[in-house]
Each structure stands twice: as structure tokens, then as C-alpha cells.
Amino acid sequence: MTLELRNISKRLGGMLVLDGLSFSAGLDELTGIIGPNGAGKSTLFAVISGFQGGDTGSTRFDGETLDGLRPEQRVGKGLARTFQVPRPFTHLTVRENLAVGAQDQAGEKLVDLFVRPWRVRAQDKAIFERADATIDFLGLGPVAHKPAGQISGGQRKLLELGRALMSEPRYILLDEPFAGVNPVLIEQISERIVEAKARGVGFLIVEHDLSALSRLVSRLLVMDRGRLIADGAPGQVLDDRTVQEAYMGGVVS
């Protein structure tokens, strides 16, 4: 049960952003990715989630190839993602945002909608119950009925995570869950991630906040200029000299 990347390369505007990247991550683990700006982390997520095609290489998810699948099809396989800058549906309430995350809704199909309205009603009720449970889980109760365009940045991060969880994924690509979030909320988000892991959801997390990330994950990958330069337990990786040089000119705080 792994997410396995093999020899992924991607050229954007003449720059080699991903340079033959290979690694595999356990689907029941918390894995972190760090690296300086421009290391290719966001592009990596875009390629794994199918928003951008890689130039070379292949991606396998639990032994099944993802190559050629569109992003929405990859979600169907159990691979969800969040965005670095949260992208809530701003005109929908927080509750509705979560409801959209649920998969295989009869009410999104025209035939069921008009031929089996009772089924749609029952299913939508169940979906909203699950949405409410997610709201409780994430502590979004006070803003549940607000349009998502009106909630704070930290709440958007939580909503982003919640929407991904609503699709009942096996694995989530989390893009900078702590960026611009206050320390209290960082604690809260970390706890939720650990709890979600306990329920069997794995995470691959890109993050700049090294201390928060290294407390959270069991394994840390370090990227620089499209390549993997270190891989191991957080403490061990952060002591590595090459990492320190590449990452912060030698100083890791």
C-alpha cells in the first residue's frame, strides 16, 4: 500500500522543475515534504493529483497506475488534495462546501433527481449528517451556515481539509496546511491530521513550518531544484549538512 513515483520529470517554460524524481510513501503514514521556494513541491502535487501531466515517469497508487487519469478520476481512486491557497466555493455555505465533497451523489445525476427523488432526499440527508460531523470534528460550528467567502484564512484551511475528508479518501495531499495560520489553530489542525490518520487516512504534506511539520510526520523528504536530496526521520534529516546548505544556506532554526 504505497504511493509510488518513478522518474517524474516536468519542464515548465524551459525550466526543469522536476528532475527525475522517484520515491514511494506508505498510504497509512504521515510523510512531509520540505524544500526551498522553487524546489518543485507545488508542481509535484499538481502532477500527482493529475492537474498537470508529467513529461516523463509514472505514478502508482496502491499498485494501480494513475497515468492518464484526470484529477477527478484520481479522487475516485481515493487520492484527494488541498490547495496551497484555499479554494472554497465562496458563494456556498461551509456546510454546502462540505456536501459537495461527498462522492457518488444520486442528486447530481439528472435521472435520479427526477425519477428517484426519495433516494436523493435520503442520501442528501445522510450527506449533511456527515458534513455536520465533519464540522464538529474541525470546530467549524460557529461558521457552518456562513458563505465560505466570508470566513477567516485559518477556517478556510480547515474547510479545505474537511472537504477533502468528505470524499472519504485513503490518502490526502496537503499543500501547506499551516501557512498563515495562528499557532493555536496549527495545533488544532495537527491534532485533526493525527486523528484522521488513526482512522486510516494517510497524508503527504508540503509545509514551510519545519517545527510543526517535524513534530507531526514520521518521515521527511527534502526537495531541491526538482530532486530529492534527503529522506529519513525528521530529526536525522534536519541535521544533514547538505539539507542545511540547500535549504537555508546552512542554518536550520
Binding site: 479522487v75 484527494a80 465562496t90 454546502e96 459537495v100 433527481l113 472537504r163 477533502a164 470524499s167
Partner: protein, 294 residues
């Protein structure tokens, strides 16, 4: 006076159905369909030809609606993964091609001569009562369409449409294909236009290709924009206003006699054109704005 009002009411119903279809496509989903008249024409000709061949009018209307529904599928499949303006150009071209086909395939459509003598329903009633019955039929169709729209917009389907309008990538990130959804709304809107076309054909009794100019597409657009895109009431208020403008110009002719009938047609075109520009500039949200989208 009453027969005239009935006529106006029937035409409001027909343009109302046309506009409701466009409202689903553009108002709700943001699809720039510049070829709405093609589906209107497909509905009108299909229903007219089937009933002229001796089959029941109801069968013709159903067939016209279904054919318009199906005709939208390939267009959606082709364009909806591409830039938004491609759909505008391809649908506009499609509507002109449909008109060319109607002109050229004389064995089927009688070409520019058009199809006279299209059967009217309720022909056993007197003229006035038949029109009233027709109005009841159109009004019923309109009501059903409104209920359908309401059901659609207050369902998970409608929720997903609103999500797509907000952020397509985020929709894909939760495992749903925006293009599939857009194709469905394009087809449903086309079906409503097809039904409107069928109602039109059986009401006016004579159709020819020059009744299906791109101008008709933009009748629906100006109605939608005036009323306010994205609301059901907007679509209906807009089509009433449109009829007011189109019919009002007939009364204007009595007041300013030096304007000829042909010039009146030009003035109507001018009003529609200027209306599109002015609404875009000064009141893009229409007269009845959609409060959920501000």
C-alpha cells in the same frame, strides 16, 4: 383587444421557455451559448414536419424537444473542456449552419419557401377558444419548466453548478468533472429551446429559415440580461419586457407615421443591439439581480 393580449401572452410564454433554457446555461452555469436559435429551429422544424406527416402534434413536440436535447451533446463534448469563448463561436456557427441546412435541403424543409399549414392543436374549437386553450397549454409547460428549474437549482445538482461557477479546479479536486455537468446543462437548456420552437411552429402555423436568424438567440440574451441572469423570475420578467419592446414598436409606428415597416425592423434591431451594450456597461446584473451572486 382580448385576442391580441392572448397572442402576446402566448409569445411571452414561448420566449419565456427559450429564456429559461438560456438562464440554465448562462445564468446558472456561465455557458456562453450564442446559438440558442439552432435548438429553437430544430424543435420547430421537427415538430412541424412530424405533424405535417400526419402524426399527432404531441409526438412532434416531444420529438422536437428530444432532438434539440441530443443536438447539444456533441457541441458540449467538443467545447466545454476548452476556452469559454470557443463555445460562443462554435454555437454561433452551428446556428448559421442549421439555417443553411434548412435553406438547402428543400426535399425536407421546402427551403426558403418554408412550411405552411402546420397543424394547430384544439382545431375543433373556435379561433378564440383555441387560442385560449393554447395559452393554457403554453402556461402549463412554462409552469412545469419553472418547477423543474426550481427543483434543479435546489438540489445537489444545483449545488454542484454553483460550485462549478465558483471554482472549477476545486470541483475537480473533489472528484467531479465540471465538463460533464456543463454538457448536461447545455443539453437541458437546448431541450427547453426545442420545446419553445415546437410551440412557436404550431402557433404561427408557418415557418421559414429567415425566422431563425441569430437575432432570435439575442432576443433570449437581452431578455435574460434585462431580467437579471441567474434567476427564474428574471427570465420571465425579461421575456415580458422583450415582448413589450417588440410589440411596442408596432404602436410606435402609429405615432410616427414617417417610419416605414422595414425601418421599424431596423429600429428593433437597433434597440436590441443598443440594449445589449448599455446593459453590459451600466447594469450587467439586470433589473432583478441575483442576490446570491453579489
Amino acid at each position: 383587444m382580448l385576442p391580441y393580449l392572448v397572442t402576446i401572452a402566448i409569445m411571452i410564454g414561448i420566449y419565456g421557455l427559450l429564456t429559461l433554457g438560456l438562464n440554465l446555461q448562462y445564468g446558472y452555469t456561465g455557458l456562453i451559448n450564442f446559438g440558442h436559435v439552432a435548438f429553437f429551429a430544430i424543435g420547430a422544424y421537427t415538430s412541424a414536419l412530424i405533424s405535417l406527416a400526419g402524426y399527432p402534434i404531441a409526438l412532434g413536440m416531444a420529438a422536437g424537444t428530444v432532438l434539440a436535447f441530443l443536438a447539444a451533446y456533441p457541441l458540449g463534448l467538443l467545447c466545454l473542456r476548452l476556452r469559454a469563448d470557443y463555445l460562443a463561436i462554435v454555437t454561433l456557427s452551428f446556428s448559421e449552419i442549421i439555417r443553411t441546412v434548412l435553406i438547402s435541403e428543400e426535399w425536407l424543409t421546402e427551403g426558403t419557401q418554408g412550411l405552411p399549414g402546420i397543424p394547430k392543436p384544439f382545431s375543433s374549437l373556435s379561433q378564440g377558444n383555441a387560442d385560449l386553450a393554447y395559452l393554457a397549454l403554453v402556461a402549463t409547460a412554462m409552469l412545469v419548466a419553472i418547477l423543474l428549474m426550481w427543483r434543479l437549482s435546489h438540489s445537489p445538482f444545483g449545488r454542484l453548478i454553483r460550485a462549478v461557477r465558483d471554482d472549477e479546479d476545486a470541483v475537480r479536486a473533489v472528484g467531479k468533472d465540471p465538463a460533464q455537468l456543463k454538457i448536461k446543462t447545455l443539453m437541458l437548456g437546448a431541450a427547453l429551446a426545442g420545446l419553445a420552437g415546437a410551440f412557436y411552429a404550431h402557433y404561427v402555423g408557418y415557418i421559414s429559415p429567415d425566422q431563425f436568424l441569430p437575432l432570435v438567440t439575442f432576443y433570449a440574451w437581452i431578455a435574460l440580461i434585462m431580467g437579471g441572469a441567474g434567476t427564474i423570475t428574471g427570465a420571465i420578467v425579461g421575456s415580458s419586457l422583450l415582448l413589450f419592446i417588440l410589440e411596442g414598436s408596432r404602436f410606435l409606428r402609429d405615432v410616427v407615421p414617417f417610419v416605414s415597416e422595414v425601418q421599424m425592423a431596423s429600429l428593433r434591431l437597433a434597440v436590441i443591439g443598443l440594449g445589449l451594450v448599455l446593459f453590459m456597461l451600466y447594469r450587467p446584473q439586470g433589473l432583478i439581480p441575483d442576490r446570491s451572486q453579489s
